[in-house]
């Protein structure tokens, strides 16, 4: 009886110490689910979901404050991926935030740019290059097509153009779709 008590207490003590050590040694900074959600979001930082960027939206989803269908750039595939990750029911994309659109690129009409720097301040990924009273231009490679630079422009010289298909971005179509189209 006494021996059993001692053995059990010893096991409990050692386990407690081990767990305590593990809690300190393997402590996870931040909420890993937020990271995982953030990794699935398209990182356009466009704010169409009503949050200040992709990460705040990811935090809101993790906290259960936001639905998973508020991200138009992520589209229906994005919603499906989030539903899969979080074990929730798939939903259709909410229409209140906007619609899934083809990818666009912001282009500044350099003839009309007055160098006001307002678009520079609006760009969430610092993809616009310029200085006060100097012409601005968009670094096409970095532009996410978030549209946030369009509204602040006082002379309406920023346009969104669809990203053209090139040899590098061309893809084969699904034969299933082709069969359906032919039928």
């Amino acid at each position: 009886m006494i021996a059993a008590l001692i053995v059990l207490s010893a096991i409990a003590g050692v386990s407690g110490l081990l767990l305590g050590f593990a809690a300190v040694r393997f402590k996870v900074e931040g909420d890993p689910i937020v990271e995982k959600i953030d990794a699935l979001l398209p990182q356009t930082q466009c704010g169409q979901c009503g949050y200040a960027g992709c990460r705040p939206y990811a935090e809101a989803i993790a906290a259960g404050e936001a639905e998973i269908n508020l991200c138009p750039p992520g589209g229906q595939t994005g919603v499906a991926a989030l539903a899969d990750l979080l074990g929730r029911d798939p939903q259709s994309l909410s229409t209140g935030q906007g619609f899934e659109k083809p990818k666009v690129l912001a282009v500044i009409d350099e003839q009309n740019c007055i160098g006001c720097t307002l678009c520079l301040q609006a760009c969430p990924v610092d993809a616009i290059l310029g200085a006060a009273k100097q012409m601005h231009t968009v670094i096409a490679k970095e532009c996410t097509g978030c549209e946030l630079c369009v509204a602040p422009c006082p002379v309406d010289c920023i346009h969104l153009i669809p990203v053209a298909q090139t040899i590098n971005t061309w893809k084969w179509n699904s034969p299933a779709l082709q069969a359906k189209a032919a039928a």
């Binding site: 953030d38 979001l41 398209p42 990182q43 356009t44 930082q45 960027g53 992709c54 990460r55 969430p124 990924v125 610092d126 993809a127 970095e142 996410t144 298909q165 090139t166 040899i167 971005t169 061309w170 893809k171 084969w172 179509n173 699904s174 034969p175 299933a176 069969a179």
Partner: protein
């Protein structure tokens, strides 16, 4: 005696129709000098070459007009002398029919060469030789177009055990390598010598399908006294695919998503070896290749075509189309793709132009449901499970398709060929691979955007703090007791 050496058959594969005799009876014809050449700057895997010329510039035959841009890239040269008339997007041979950047040259009819400098490879440093090959635009001519200089650099890793020269040419209809081996075996072996000098392999093997006895004889004769071994291999599609050929000749299995070099083997096409010879021993860059023009043309054969010659001109040289051509295919019927027009230029990857009539095309039979017969599994030379891949690709479950090693699919088309339900299996795999690569690219782009956004937020925070610090330093002079909290926005 060579034929008695053990071979290690790969799984699956097919006996396909051959259709080699149509085009392999006549010697290689030189191409007529075209009046205009459209030379694409992307004729290889890797980054597109950087144009070095502008409209109006005179060029000489063999002059570099596009510079290799990055490690995995290749140079492009003017195929004849003349004047550059445009550097712009033109249609190139690609399943999409989309245009890509090309240099358009009007020939002056002189065909005047640059100064060619042959080098003695035995007295040059390997990296110097690789640079010469890189600047000569030498890429794999079997169809993939991978820059050869990269493959000829083992970068100090393990020694190479076997160097394989691929003369299998297993795809039906194509005979350009066959004719090249028959007529220019000495040149191929000279190029092979340079490759062996760079890679220092223990063995050099040349794999040729046994339906090409003349080529085998010519290559055996050219190899006499060199120690290189010609190995006839059974005529079984796709024996010319790299991993299958490596297995067949050495018994070594290339790891999934690995390269033959991981098991100490490196493999090149015979035509690539020939261009290495031209580049080193003659100082000539890659400006032409041998193209098989076959199918429903009046005089099928092989033409040594200048890169940039339009397909229409080559067909014209072969007597023009016969009645009933329904589709023009680049490459063979198994792995080739249909072209949108014949007004597109020959590239380094263009091994064959097949003018197909209804007889050559597989009739379009209605697609029926998969009956799980397993014929595709039997045929798959990559040891995959085609029906599983089909289900997942069709359902857009790309992660599951990837877990079944979709990316190891060599797109040989054996599965589609044997499918009794006529399911276009290989088209599904191509589609799924494209989607996976596109998603991967998208992910990388999103990651970049995330980092830039993060950097921006940190910058804004830093600037705000700097302003506050500045304000606090100034503040005591004005209002020592109550710093204005709203003043933080004033710079």
């Amino acid at each position: 005696m060579n034929a008695l050496k053990a071979l290690f058959p790969f799984h699956g594969g097919l006996k396909t129709v051959r259709h080699k005799a149509e085009s392999n009876q006549q010697p290689i014809q030189p191409s007529a000098l075209p009046r205009r050449l459209t030379v694409p700057l992307r004729q290889h895997i890797g980054a597109i070459a950087k144009p070095l010329v502008q409209p109006g510039d005179p060029v000489l035959k063999g002059q570099m007009i596009g510079q290799a841009d990055g490690y995995i890239s290749a140079a492009i040269h003017a195929p004849t002398s003349g004047v550059v008339v445009a550097v712009e997007s033109r249609p190139i041979p690609h399943p999409s029919g989309l245009p890509d950047l090309c240099v358009v040259i009007d020939s002056d009819g002189e065909d005047c060469w640059i100064d060619r400098e042959p080098v003695d490879y035995r007295h040059r440093h390997p990296s110097e030789l690789r640079n010469i090959l890189r600047n000569a635009g030498v890429v794999g001519l079997g169809g993939a177009g991978f820059p050869s200089a990269v493959k000829l650099n083992l970068s100090g890793s393990d020694d190479l055990e076997t160097l394989i020269l691929n003369g299998a040419e297993c795809e039906p209809w194509i005979t350009c390598d066959d004719r090249l081996m028959r007529e220019r075996a000495a040149g191929i072996v000279a190029g092979l010598r340079v490759m062996a000098h760079l890679l220092k392999p223990l063995d050099v093997l040349i794999g040729i399908e046994e339906d090409k006895p003349e080529a085998i004889a010519a290559m055996t004769e050219a190899c006499a006294g060199t120690g290189y071994e010609v190995r006839p291999i059974p005529t079984r599609y796709p024996s010319g695919s790299v991993k299958q050929l490596v297995k067949l000749l050495t018994g070594k299995e290339t790891p999934v998503e690995g390269l033959p070099v991981d098991v100490g083997v490196q493999c090149f096409n015979v035509a690539t070896a020939y261009t290495v010879h031209r580049a080193i021993d003659h100082g000539e860059p890659v400006i032409s290749r041998i193209v098989t023009v076959t199918g429903h043309v009046r005089r099928p054969g092989n033409i040594e075509a200048l890169l940039g010659t339009s397909f229409a001109e080559l067909v014209e040289q072969c007597g023009g189309y016969q009645e009933g051509v329904e589709r023009l295919i680049m490459g063979g019927p198994m792995m080739g793709f249909a072209l949108h027009s014949d007004e597109i230029p020959v590239t380094k990857a263009a091994n064959c132009i097949l003018a197909a009539s209804a007889a050559e095309l597989a009739p379009e039979l209605p697609v029926m449901p998969c009956i799980r017969c397993g014929a595709c599994v039997e045929a798959c030379p990559a040891d995959l499970l085609p029906q599983q891949l089909y289900w997942h690709a069709r359902a857009r479950e790309f992660d599951k398709a990837q877990a079944h090693h979709l990316l190891s699919c060599i797109e040989c088309g054996c599965c589609s060929y044997v499918c009794p339900s006529h399911i276009p299996l290989v088209q599904y795999y191509r589609y799924a691979k494209n989607e996976i690569w596109a998603q991967e690219k998208e992910k990388q782009k999103a990651e970049l955007a995330r980092q830039r956004h993060q950097a921006r937020l940190e910058r804004l925070e830093r600037e705000k703090q700097e302003r506050e610090t500045k304000l606090r330093q100034k503040a005591p002079a004005k209002t020592p007791l109550t710093p204005d909290p709203t003043g933080s926005n004033i710079p």
